[in-house]
C-alpha cells in the first residue's frame, strides 16, 4: 500500500506536470539567461513566463514585483532586513508570538543589534488583539511582519486590514504567506501589503525556490548583492529549472483553487469530525471558523505527539506534531503555548494537512486507525485510567522532582 501523506504543510509532492515542464531546462535549455546568445535567450523567456504565472497567482499588479529567491526563509530575511536598512531612523519591529522561526529567530538576532521587537499575543483560538496592535503602531516602527496563515493551526490573520493600519502609520508591512499562497485566492494589487514571502515546495513546486513579492514603490535594499539578476534586487544566477517549475505550479494552483476550497475543505472537515467523534478528550486547536481549507490540528490529551506519529507511521500515515520531542527541544510548540493550550494537551497535538491529491479513501482509513492508536498510548500513560484521565491527573502522579 502506498502511504497516506497528510503532511502537506511541511512540504508537498512535486506535480508530475511541473517536473515535465522543468526537464528541458536541465539539458537542452541549459543557457544562462544573462547571456547574449540564443542559448540564454530562450531561458530568459521561460523565466519571464514563470514570473507572469506567479504574478497571476498573487494578484500582483506588475510582473516586476516578483523577485525569485531560494526559499521562504530567504524572502523573510530579505524583507525584514531591507525594511530596517531602508529606514534607519525607525528601530522597531512588530510581529506575533506565533510566527515561523524564519521570522522569530531572525528577530531575536536583530534585537542584539539594538532593534526593539514587539510580539503580538494571541488568544486561545490564536487570534490577535487588534487594539494592542494599534497601540504599538508608532512612527518608530520600521516594519510589521505577520503571517497570512499559521502553519500549525491554519488560522488566518487579518493581514489586509493590518497592512492598511501599518500603511497609515508610515510603517512597511510584510507577510509570510508560505502556507496561504496556492491555497486561498490572493489579490495583492488591492492591498497595502508591501512585501510577501512565497515558498515553492508548499504548492507542489520543488524545494529550493521562493519568491519575495515587492510592491512597486516600496523602498528596498537587497540582501544578496552582485550581478544584475532580478533587476539587481537578488544577485546570483537564477535557479532556472525551479523558477520554471514554480511558474507551472502557480498556474496549476490557480486552476485547483476552487477544488482546494470546496473538496479539500470537505475532506478535512470529514476527517476532523470523524476523529473527534471517536476519540474522547480530543479537541481542535486554533480558530476552526477561520483557517486554511486543508489544515486540521487536533490535540489528544494525556499522550505525547511523537509516540502518536511513530504509530501512525507504522500504518503508513504521515502527519506532524507540536510536541517537544519531535524537535528535540524540551518545550512543546510555541504556537500551542502562545494560545494557552495546557501542557496536558500541547504535547499531544497532531497536525493533519491535506492536499488536492488527498482522497476520500485515505480520510476513511485515517479515521479508522487514529482511535486505536490513541487508546493504545493512553493505556501506557500514567495520567490515564480506564476510560478517562486519572482523577486529578497532576495529583495522581507525584514525582519526587519535576
Amino acid at each position: 500500500m502506498e502511504g497516506i501523506y497528510f503532511d502537506n504543510n511541511a512540504t508537498t509532492r512535486v506535480d508530475p506536470a511541473v517536473v515535465e515542464a522543468m526537464l528541458p531546462y536541465f539539458t537542452e535549455q541549459f543557457g544562462n539567461p544573462s547571456s547574449m546568445h540564443s542559448f540564454g535567450n530562450k531561458v530568459g523567456l521561460a523565466i519571464k513566463k514563470a514570473r507572469m504565472q506567479v504574478q497571476e497567482l498573487l494578484g500582483a499588479e506588475h510582473d516586476s514585483e516578483i523577485i525569485f529567491t531560494s526559499c521562504g526563509t530567504e524572502s523573510d530575511s530579505t524583507a525584514l532586513i531591507s525594511a530596517l536598512k531602508a529606514q534607519p531612523e525607525r528601530k522597531e519591529i512588530i510581529t506575533t508570538t506565533v510566527e515561523h522561526p524564519a521570522i522569530l529567530t531572525l528577530c531575536t538576532w536583530l534585537e542584539k543589534d539594538g532593534y526593539k521587537v514587539h510580539l503580538l499575543k494571541v488568544d486561545g483560538k490564536g487570534r490577535l488583539d487588534m487594539a494592542e496592535y494599534k497601540k504599538l503602531l508608532t512612527d518608530q516602527v520600521a516594519v510589521v511582519s505577520v503571517m497570512w496563515a499559521n502553519n500549525e493551526t491554519g488560522t488566518f490573520f487579518p493581514v489586509v486590514e493590518m497592512a492598511e493600519l501599518a500603511n497609515a502609520a508610515g510603517a512597511m508591512f510584510h507577510t509570510d504567506a508560505v502556507q496561504a499562497v496556492g491555497k486561498v485566492p490572493l489579490n495583492l494589487k488591492d492591498t497595502k501589503i508591501d512585501m510577501l514571502s512565497v515558498s515553492g515546495h508548499k504548492l507542489h513546486a520543488p524545494k529550493g525556490i521562493g519568491v519575495l513579492y515587492l510592491k512597486r514603490g516600496t523602498r528596498f535594499r537587497p540582501l544578496l548583492r552582485g550581478g544584475h539578476q532580478e533587476r539587481g534586487r537578488r544577485a546570483g544566477t537564477e535557479n532556472t529549472t525551479s523558477i520554471v517549475g514554480l511558474g507551472k505550479a502557480a498556474e496549476m494552483a490557480m486552476e485547483a483553487m476552487h477544488h482546494e476550497n470546496t473538496e479539500v475543505a470537505r475532506l478535512r472537515d470529514k476527517l476532523e469530525a470523524g476523529i473527534l467523534a471517536k476519540v474522547p478528550r480530543s479537541f481542535v486547536t486554533g480558530d476552526p471558523s477561520n483557517r486554511l481549507p486543508n489544515t486540521s490540528n487536533i490535540a489528544f490529551e494525556f499522550i505525547e505527539g511523537e509516540a502518536i506519529l511513530l504509530l501512525l507511521n507504522k500504518f503508513g500515515i504521515a502527519a506532524s506534531s507540536g510536541s517537544a520531542c519531535t524537535s528535540g527541544s524540551l518545550e512543546p510548540s510555541h504556537v500551542m503555548r502562545a494560545m494557552g493550550i495546557p501542557y496536558t494537551a500541547a504535547h499531544g497535538t497532531v497536525r493533519f494537512s491535506l492536499s488536492r491529491y488527498s482522497t476520500e479513501a485515505e480520510v476513511d482509513r485515517v479515521i479508522a486507525v487514529v482511535p486505536e492508536i490513541i487508546a493504545q498510548l493512553r493505556k501506557l500513560s500514567p495520567y490515564w485510567e480506564g476510560d478517562g484521565p486519572a482523577a486529578e491527573p497532576e495529583k495522581a502522579f507525584a514525582p519526587t522532582y519535576a
Partner: protein, 296 residues
C-alpha cells in the same frame, strides 16, 4: 525523523511490562507532564532477598521514553536492588543499541525512576535537583543548564574552557555561537565581558587524584570493558596518559573495525564518568580520533 535503532522501535511498538503492577511495593515517579516526559516505575520486591520479582512501567512520552522504560524493566527483573542500582543510563542506552543525543535524557529518566522506586521501597527520601536545559552540543548531548552551571562553578571564560570541562563544542563546532552566548550571559553576571581571544585555563581539574590513582582507575575501566572486546575477538591496551589525553591501542579484531569509533566513544564516556573530568581517548592509529570525537 529520528534515527532510532531497531531495538528502540521494537521496545516502543511492543513495550514489555507496560501498565499498572498490582501489589507493587516500590513506586518511583519522575518527570512531569509539562516537561513532556513522565515515567512511573513499579517494583515488586521480595523482602527477604531484595530481589525484584516484577517490574512494570507507565510512561507519558515519546518513542524513546517508552522504549527506555520498557528496556529498564527487562534489565532489572530478577536482580537484587543493589544490583539493579548499578544499571546506569548508559547501560539502558546500550541495551537499546544507542539513542540519538537529543534523546539520552530518556535513559537518564529511566535511571532516576529506578533510584526513586528503590528509595520508595526502602522508605527513604529521594530527591534530585537535576535540571535540564535546551540541548546545545549535539555531538555530546550537553545542555545549556549544564554549560551555564559549569561556567559559573569554575569561572570559565572561553569556549575552549567549556569544551575542556563539559566536552560541549568539542565535536563539529557548530554550537560555538551558542556557547559564546552563554559565556556572555554568565560572565556579565560576574561583571566581566566575554573576550573571544582569551586564553583558556591551563588544565581541567583532576578530581583530586594523584597520577597513580588516576592511572589505576583508567586501568580498571579498561579492564571492565575488556571481556566484551575479547568476546568480539579484540583487545585494548593503555599506552600512555598525558594530562587529559589517554593513548590506547586497539588490537585484534578491534583494530580498524567499523565500530571502533563507537566503541572508543563508549569507553571514553565511561572513563569520564569514573574520573569525573573531561578526558580524550586517542587511538594510536591516525584518523580514528576524529571519528571518535564526533558521532552526532
Amino acid at each position: 525523523m529520528w534515527d532510532y535503532s531497531d531495538k528502540v522501535k521494537e521496545h516502543f511498538f511492543e513495550p514489555r511490562n507496560a501498565g499498572v503492577l498490582e501489589g507493587a511495593n516500590g513506586v518511583g515517579d519522575v518527570g512531569s507532564i509539562s516537561c513532556g516526559d513522565a515515567l512511573r516505575l513499579m517494583l515488586k520486591v521480595e523482602p527477604e532477598t531484595d530481589i525484584i520479582l516484577d517490574a512494570h512501567f507507565q510512561t507519558f512520552g515519546c518513542g524513546s521514553a517508552i522504549a527506555s522504560s520498557s528496556a529498564l524493566t527487562e534489565m532489572i527483573k530478577g536482580k537484587t536492588l543493589d544490583e539493579a542500582l548499578k544499571v546506569s543510563n548508559q547501560d539502558i542506552a546500550d541495551y537499546l543499541d544507542g539513542l540519538p543525543p537529543e534523546k539520552m535524557h530518556c535513559s537518564v529518566m529511566g535511571r532516576e525512576a529506578l533510584q526513586a522506586a528503590v528509595a520508595n521501597y526502602r522508605g527513604e527520601e529521594w530527591s534530585d535537583d537535576h535540571e535540564e536545559g535546551a540541548l546545545v552540543c549535539k555531538c555530546f548531548a550537553i545542555d545549556a543548564v549544564m554549560i551555564e552551571d559549569t561556567i559559573r562553578a569554575n569561572n570559565l571564560s572561553s569556549v575552549q574552557d567549556v569544551t575542556n570541562y563539559t566536552k560541549a563544542g568539542g565535536g563539529c563546532s557548530s554550537c560555538h555561537e551558542g556557547i559564546e552566548e552563554i559565556l556572555v550571559k554568565v560572565m556579565s553576571e560576574r561583571g566581566e565581558s566575554f573576550n573571544p581571544g582569551a586564553q583558556p585555563k591551563e588544565e581541567a581539574p583532576k578530581g583530586g587524584m594523584t597520577n597513580l590513582q588516576r592511572i589505576k582507575k583508567i586501568e580498571a575501566v579498561l579492564e571492565s570493558v575488556r571481556p566484551q572486546l575479547k568476546r568480539d575477538g579484540g583487545d585494548i591496551e593503555l599506552l600512555d596518559v598525558d594530562g587529559k589525553t589517554i593513548y590506547v591501542s586497539m588490537t585484534g579484531a578491534c583494530a580498524g573495525c567499523q565500530m571502533e569509533a563507537l566503541t572508543l566513544q563508549g569507553i571514553q564516556q565511561k572513563l569520564m564518568e569514573e574520573l569525573k573530568e573531561f578526558i580524550k581517548i586517542v587511538p594510536t592509529k591516525a584518523g580514528a580520533l576524529s571519528r571518535a570525537s564526533c558521532q552526532p
